[in-house]
Amino acid sequence: MSAALLDVDHVSKRFVKQKSLGERIASVLGAGRKSEIVRAVSDVSLSVHKGEVIGLVGESGCGKSTLGRIIAGIYTPSDGNVLFDQKPVAKQQGRRTSKLTTRIQMVHQDPFASLNPRMRIGDTVAEGPVTHRIVKAREADGYVADLLARVGLDPSYRRRFPHQFSGGQRQRIAIARALAMKPDLLVLDEPVASLDVSIQAQVLNLFMDLRRDLDLTAIFISHDLGVVRHVSDRVAIMYLGRIVELSPTADLYAAPNHPYTKALFESVPRIGVGRRNFHPIAGEIPSPLNPPNGCHFHPRCPFAGPRCRAEAPPLTAIGSGRFSACHLNTGGTA
């Protein structure tokens, strides 16, 4: 395969909780508490090739949205690099940053929050491409009309405001806005999570049509295993800031390797299996403020041994294109 379009290279992101004035004074006087650090993403590496759709899956607090935002250039990583077309996304300054980040566009989860309620949707969609001179201002109207038609909306709707649209229609507008920049990479953060099932199917079909017609490369973030299986070529499963398994979609769903992936699949309620005995994962998701030592999953893992408590397992190859971070794969005892 040719060089990757996007290279996420040992990226970490830490968020430090701001101290209050009192705490700052206390720390100057030598009585302060240690600052609280959330390790939202730790040491994640991932390559995305042109034309590929990668699914990022995990439960809340696993860092999937943070990783998406780092890739989109909204957050700068604390460590590591994100290379887009072999150029770092974050290190570029000024105009060159904007030039690069316009090639990566993001679609957010909540279409009620991501559209400016006071702007006509035609202006929302046109703003980016006109500002960055992708189209001339006087040609913007036709450009927007084409885009709206492409996402399945009547072009005459472009004079309307967001409140005149339903949730599914708004998500189409958000997708049109992202496509207006002619991006090379789309980052979609839970794009269908807030939609009803029947509307969700419409938006997923739209995404698959666009992907085929425009040869899109995309990162598709979701907590819904069924949705991700449907749209992705490869899937990365995240748990507490780390990728625990990365695999071509069909292989992953046929035979999950990591104990967390297996447990996650077991927990998902399924249509048509009938009333059944649940085998839920024991325990809670630990706080990312204070993750467990070693393998983050070990307190909930039925196979955990002493090595899992002491040493974090690296993501290692377990087959063609398959990676898993579990000591059980590397031989010896867990």
């Binding site: 439960e59 809340s60 339903s166 599914g168 229609q169 009803d196 099932v197 029947s198 509307i199 969700q200 199917a201 419409q202 997923l204 079909n205 698959m208 907590h223 819904d224 295993l225 069924g226 949705v227 299986r229 449907h230 749209v231 992705s232 979609t249 069909a250 769903y253 046929a254 035979a255 999950p256 297996k262 447990a263 996650l264 699949f265 077991e266 927990s267 998902v268 309620p269 399924r270 249509i271 048509g272 299996v273 009938g274 009333r275 059944r276 005995n277 649940f278 085998h279 839920p280 994962i281 024991a282 809670e284 998701i285």
Partner: protein, 339 residues
């Protein structure tokens, strides 16, 4: 269902708006038996939550219950007021909300709140109430319940808070618990734990649940029976396994077919065209007709309730024949864990 503990008959809930009366719940009827779980399924705006609120008398102006009965162990509770209603709510019928912080007071310890909830209906000592609270927490699978009683709500995770809310609902061993999207905000691994607990509680305590949700997969693995709602009406009822395997109403069929997990990856999903209609602007006759692949000339008139074998019903002029519909479960075995 011979011994229905909860029987809702022709319930109508309306909201007064500037444009006129909206029929949020438009003639809903169903029954739930002891220890049974009924899944009340629908998309946003279908009236499923308002139905749940109406059963408990939680509708406030501009809304009102315009008609129908809610029989709890044979007694109509829609006419109750003041003290009479208070004696029923919490003791014989209870509610679990989507957001457990609607149940929990953020400035009081869990124990304080649960003791108050016990003593609201039973004259017992604080000590006895504390013990009952502790036992209730243990019953919903909360580890070290004594310590949790001493904690404030913010010290617990979302899943734990929802367990506490369910424990409070269970305190007086009510005949019925109405649960409004109780696991929607939770992660799948936590949701799995709670569904397992609820199934066990229904079987062990005999409490009946009305589980309001948009999630067909949850209902499919949890519920005994299903009612599917659309635009304020129940469009299909039946045993959960039967409805899922061969839906009779085109809307139910459309909902089931649009779930991605039931299809080959990348395959085009069958979609229900259009979007849910506004209650202020419903088409005449069947509200689903403009989106329906089976719609015909009769659909501009109110559809009849068609009855089928095994007590199933569908509100439809042209219900789907049982043999023309493919069981959806056949394609769905691939993504279960191989372990």
């Amino acid at each position: 269902m011979s011994e229905a503990v909860l029987s809702v008959q022709d319930l109508r809930t309306q909201f007064k708006t500037r444009t006129g009366m909206l029929n949020a719940v438009d003639g809903v009827s169903f029954e739930v038996g002891r220890g049974r779980i009924l899944g009340l399924v629908g998309e946003s705006g279908s009236g499923k939550s308002v139905t749940g609120y109406s059963i408990l008398g939680l509708i406030e102006p501009p809304g009102l219950i315009a008609g129908g009965e809610v029989l709890l162990n044979g007694r109509d509770i829609t006419r109750l007021k003041g003290d009479e209603l208070r004696r029923v709510r919490g003791a014989q019928i209870a509610m679990v909300f989507q957001d457990p912080m609607m149940t929990l007071n953020p400035v009081l310890k869990i124990g304080t709140q649960m003791i108050a909830a016990v003593r609201a209906h039973d004259r017992v000592s604080r000590r006895t109430a504390w013990e009952r609270a502790r036992d209730a927490l243990a019953k919903v699978g909360i580890p070290s319940p004594e310590e949790r009683l001493d904690a404030y709500p913010h010290q617990l995770s979302g899943g734990m808070r929802q367990r506490v809310a369910i424990a409070i609902a269970l305190l007086h061993r009510p005949a019925v618990i109405i649960a409004d999207e109780p696991t929607t905000a939770l992660d799948v691994s936590i949701q799995g734990q709670i569904l397992a607990e609820v199934r066990r509680l229904a079987d062990e305590t005999g409490t009946a649940f009305v589980w309001v949700t948009h999630d067909l997969a949850v209902v499919s693995s949890l519920a005994d029976d299903i009612c599917v709602m659309y635009a304020g009406r129940i469009v299909e009822t039946g045993a959960a396994a039967d409805v899922i395997a061969s839906p009779r109403h085109p809307y139910t069929a459309g909902l089931l077919a649009s779930v991605p997990a039931e299809h080959e990856p990348g395959e085009r999903l069958p979609q229900v065209p259009g979007s849910t209609p506004s209650l202020s602007d419903l088409p005449p006759g069947c509200a689903f007709a403009p989106r329906c692949f089976k719609a015909g000339p009769a659909c501009t008139t109110t559809p009849p309730i068609q009855k089928f074998e095994d007590g199933r019903t569908a509100l439809c002029h042209y219900p789907i024949e049982s043999n023309s519909c493919q069981p959806l479960s056949s394609t769905s075995t691939t993504y279960r864990s191989a372990s």
